[in-house]
């Protein structure tokens, strides 16, 4: 990992105090984001992936939420120790968010332009006219046709895909160093999804910002990520370079996630079982209960520490990778690996045939 990352999250613990007890939503999560890099956080609902990103700029509801431990270093400053005023300056300025539902992220009673202008003027001292011109530029940047006239439209006059573009324009208003996108394409059609993904990558190239992209879809991850963090029940299961992750998924959970992608192969394999309790997490590895490779040692102690899997930048929290055990049990399991490979080949094959011959 680079010596001086843009964002460095160490041992983050975020809890929620509820009537039924304390929910350990994020339980000791660490990762780094380098300048200009796209990091994907992948996991099912309830894995704590959104809470992790919300903790960074503290946009989660506090109380009941509380950052109970850990450090978040953004560009050399410890964000966890900042006052609310200081964090507000960073939020929307140097770090901005894009959320899942484009329908509710824009206020229906203001024009799109007015909302982008507001985002600009919140952090920059610009006149109304200058801010409006900047808003038009931004809309043009995110691919809204005839931006100069659409800037005065109300959100309901925009389609879902255009709304998400407008929201991205808002997030870009202050040329952030880090863009946090929380499932920005989940509510959209596949065709619009691929437009938005392409847009994000183009914008990243142009502005050189870092992106944290939260999703539950490993298909999307492969399109956009440089590095991937796989989360499960508040813990990180695997951290890897995107190529390492897909070429040799190390954690049984990652493998299970890959195997249940619909449409990728002939047979999908549901993971089975349910997420463990977050108020009273079980001993040992959080995934052990649903894991087909689980052995007795998986059910005792804490979540296993990180062991090196296939590459230098590929770490996995699974005891099979400890020197004492044999990782080939997982890595060379023909059933799992076989399905994953055919999945890629068939779909990739279909794709090249589909897109290739007529163009």
């Amino acid at each position: 990992m680079s010596s001086n990352p843009l964002l460095s999250v160490t041992n983050l613990e975020t809890v929620f105090h509820t009537g039924e007890g304390t929910v350990y939503a994020v339980d000791g999560v660490s990762f780094d984001v380098d300048q200009g890099e796209t990091v994907c956080i992948v996991g099912e609902s309830g894995s704590g992936k959104s809470v992790t990103t919300e903790s960074i700029t503290r946009i989660l509801q506090m109380p009941p939420g509380e950052i109970a431990g850990g450090e978040i270093i953004f560009d050399g400053q410890n964000v966890t120790e900042m006052s609310d005023d200081e964090i507000r300056k960073i939020r929307g300025g140097r770090i901005s968010h894009v959320f899942q539902n484009p329908q509710s992220a824009l206020n229906p009673v203001y024009t799109v332009g007015a909302q982008i202008r507001e985002a600009i003027q919140a952090h920059q001292d610009l006149s109304k006219d200058a801010a409006r011109e900047r808003a038009i530029e931004l809309l043009d940047e995110v691919g809204i046709p005839e931006a100069a006239s659409r800037v005065d439209d109300y959100p309901h006059e925009f389609s879902g895909g255009m709304k998400q573009r407008a929201i991205i324009a808002m997030a870009l208003a202050c040329e952030p160093d880090l863009l946090i996108a929380d499932e920005p394409t989940t509510a959209l059609d596949v065709t619009i999804e691929s437009q938005i993904l392409e847009l994000l990558m183009d914008l990243q190239e142009e502005f050189g910002m870092s992106i944290i992209f939260v999703t539950h879809d490993l298909g999307v991850v492969a399109e956009i990520a440089d590095r991937v963090i796989v989360m499960y029940a508040g813990k990180v299961m695997e951290r890897a370079d995107v190529y390492d992750l897909y070429d040799s998924p190390a954690h049984p959970y990652t493998r299970a996630l890959l195997n249940c992608l619909p449409g990728a192969s002939g047979t999908i394999e549901p993971i089975g079982g349910t997420l463990p309790s977050v108020t009273n997490p079980p001993d040992g590895c959080r995934f052990a209960d649903r894991c087909e490779y689980a052995i007795d040692d998986c059910f005792v102690g804490d979540q296993p520490e990180f062991f090196q899997a296939t590459g230098p930048d590929h770490e996995v929290s699974c005891i099979h990778y400890h020197d004492m055990y044999d990782s080939s049990v997982v890595l060379e399991d023909t059933a799992g690996e076989g399905t994953a490979t055919t999945a890629r080949e068939t779909t990739a094959g279909a794709h090249s045939e589909a897109g290739g011959d007529r163009l």
Partner: protein, 439 residues
């Protein structure tokens, strides 16, 4: 297989919503949500309808189930036309054709225990015997992987995936022959989707159901369907066996959809066909082939051989001029905001305007073909002068494509595989003319 009467056969189904105005509700137009579709589902077969939001696929589902009255066309269920059914016959049909819904959170009455919800179709269809209802509910809940004792719990105590299983149990309670699933998994996590889809497959094997799945997710369709219909703006543009569609897609829209499925392979280069823009409004669908306004493979006029992307961008411009909805002021304003030296719209010269317009539509500064370049420059001059009608005339004299002029005919590529696209018509080698569809 083909000799047997299909369980469901939809012929030329249309559902139009009138757009009315004034107190007298005078009809001033129609939203053609579903505009003449043919689908058939056999027993034990899973058929998918795929398309973007706004293509009318959900309306197709509710219209097939007679939850909305069809404007035109027939829905044959076991050979009988459902659209002409009496109230009593309709009730019997509804028992045999069940539906599952997209949003697991809103598909259960929060005031009813899930046992009551699952038993509702039984009760509504006249089964008064409480004990028997309870027994059936218990069996069904176990079949979808829950426990019989869960019947007394309330919807908010279940996760989205569990609710979707309960939705399946409810649909199956009256032992239907047909199951219509409207986006059954799109509100769920990918990992849960796999579970629901595999339960659906198991239940289909067990009960011999015919399933019609509506989805925007080609991955889901590919996973579970035997046949697929690709829907665009109220019409089915291509239909065929799933494998055929995925390995040999004929319609450019199908190809675009397939290429936009995210593939879990970071090595793949991004050469995909992204569709520009959104689906046009079904209130005013494009003439000719409905997809021509977004089609990346739109056919060029005779005698031209532009780079396909250039031609696409050129056509975007031409259509905007034809439809008179090019925003001239916005281009002027664009010049004023983005370029130095102009303070007012009045000051913008033709050259700056032309550069800006070409940028806006991504048309290269100069076209290779001399005639084409001349026509384009002429038209831009007219647009500059706000004379859109004349500009439109100039453009249509030179650039016209068959995609806009004619509706494509439906062509059978193979026995089970049909598509409507002018490209296939041109490619006459492997084509059988469509049989007459007036029945």
């Amino acid at each position: 297989m083909s000799a047997e009467t299909p369980l469901l056969e939809v012929r030329n189904l249309k559902k139009h919503y009138p757009i009315t105005k004034g107190i007298l509700k005078r009809e001033i137009g129609r939203v053609r949500a579903v505009d003449g579709i043919d689908v058939s589902v056999r027993r034990g077969e899973t058929v998918g309808i795929v398309g973007e939001s706004g293509c009318g696929k959900s309306t197709a589902a509710t219209t097939i189930l007679q939850l909305e009255k069809a404007t035109d066309g027939q829905v044959l269920f076991d050979g009988e036309d459902v659209t002409t059914f009496s109230k009593r016959e309709l009730k019997r049909f509804r028992r045999r054709a069940q539906m599952i819904f997209q949003d697991p959170d809103s598909s259960f009455d929060p005031r009813m225990s899930i046992g009551e919800s699952v038993a509702e179709p039984l009760y509504v269809n006249g089964m008064n015997d409480r004990a028997r209802r309870r027994e059936i509910v218990g069996t069904l809940l176990e079949k979808v992987g829950l426990q019989a004792s869960d019947a007394d719990r309330y919807p908010h105590e279940f996760s989205g995936g569990q609710k979707q299983r309960i939705g399946l149990a409810r649909a199956l309670s009256v032992n239907p022959d047909l199951l219509v699933a409207d986006e059954p998994v799109s509100a769920l996590d990918v990992s849960i989707q796999a579970e629901i889809l595999s339960i659906m497959q198991d239940l289909q094997d067990e009960f011999g159901l015919g399933i019609l799945i509506i989805s925007h997710n080609l991955g889901v369709i590919r996973e579970i369907c035997d046949r697929v219909g690709v829907m665009y703006l109220g019409q089915i543009v291509e239909e065929g066996p799933t494998d055929e569609i995925f390995t040999n897609p004929q319609h450019p829209y199908t190809r675009a959809l397939i290429s936009s499925i995210p593939v879990p392979d970071p090595h793949r280069s991004r050469d995909e066909v992204t569709l520009s823009g959104d689906v046009p409004s079904p209130a005013n669908p494009p003439v000719g082939c409905r997809f021509h306004t977004r089609c990346p493979e739109i056919i060029q006029p005779d005698g031209y051989s532009f780079e396909q992307a250039t031609w696409r961008h050129l056509m975007d411009y031409i259509y905007r001029v034809h439809d008179q909805n090019i925003d001239v002021e916005s281009i002027f304003e664009g010049v004023v905001t983005e370029q130095e030296g102009y303070d007012d719209i009045e000051e913008v010269p033709l050259e700056a305007f032309e550069t800006r317009l070409r940028e806006e539509f991504e048309i290269p500064p100069s076209l290779a073909d001399g005639t084409a370049e001349q026509t384009l420059t002429d038209s831009i001059e007219l647009v500059f002068a706000h004379d859109l009608e004349e500009a439109s005339a100039v453009l249509s004299a030179e650039f016209e494509t068959v995609c806009r002029q004619e509706k494509p005919a439906e062509i059978h590529i193979e026995e089970n595989h049909r598509a409507s696209c002018h490209l296939i018509e041109q490619d006459t080698t492997a084509v059988v003319e469509s049989p007459a569809t007036d029945d």
